[in-house]
Symmetry: C2
Amino acid sequence: MKLNTKSRYAVMALADMSKFPINNPVSLRDISLRQSISLLYLEQIFIKLKKNDIVKSVRGTNGGYVLKRDPKNIKLSEIFQALDQKVKTVGCKKDSKKGCNGKSAKCITHELWDELEIYINNFFENKKLSDLSLTKGDI
Amino acid sequence: MKLNTKSRYAVMALADMSKFPINNPVSLRDISLRQSISLLYLEQIFIKLKKNDIVKSVRGTNGGYVLKRDPKNIKLSEIFQALDQKVKTVGCKKDSKKGCNGKSAKCITHELWDELEIYINNFFENKKLSDLSLTKGDI
DNA sequence: GAATACTTGACTATTTTAGTCGGGTATATA
DNA sequence: TATATACCCGACTAAAATAGTCAAGTATTC
Ligand code: FES
Ligand code: FES
């Protein structure tokens, strides 16, 4: 079970932004330098964050991105969703009646994995961006 | 975040076994048929389970594998460990002082991911094989 | 009009996953 | 003791996912 870099960087970048006065555009270039994340990669990530109403963009000189909401109201689960990062522990399609083995019933472990999936999603659901942006002084 | 098939199948196979009288060897062929898992793949999986003292093998005709311990004493975390399935949410090496970006300090999100890693590992640590083998009547 | 910074789709190398294959060895039972 | 059953184990491979890069823009401010 691994977390991909896209989600990790997304949270890192947003945490970085949330350290600055809101409504003050933060450029990807700056985030890239501070957090050592490839600028090109960040661009890809922010397109998705924008589409999902987590940030908004300000174009032109001194532009950048701005958090669209208070960090207190941004759940990690939303960030993950924005990046199509899903927690998938079951081997089957959830809403299908078929099991992971192609049989007509769910397998003997299905319930367990489902429980795990809910368990993990709970973590993301209950964590807000603000929960981590304030923990440390350094950027 | 996805769970790989090896771990999923391992748990499935062990759950299958635990439905039968202990000390009664269960052949991989039977498990393969019942659970629709490739026999060749199962072999690969069971070599590892054996090396990690979760099952023992009985060779020859009517042989198979036997659980080495009571399902009550087999934690999911052990099964995962046996298959080198690690939960990895941080981007850095845990015991290194360096961060995921190659810098000398841990990044701003490190603590969060570490917390998640512990959270998930907890799940596996607290689940026993017996917790799922008895839930359903069917195999 | 020059510089800054966002926008977007396509492309690619690398790694991981999910298996398969081949050629063994050990044991029970007929 | 022959044969079938079933474990043993390293090497191999196709396919998918990941982690980016690249090229060619557009919008805005100074
Ligand atoms: S995981 Fe859903 S049926 Fe096996
Ligand atoms: S995840 Fe450990 S330093 Fe970034």
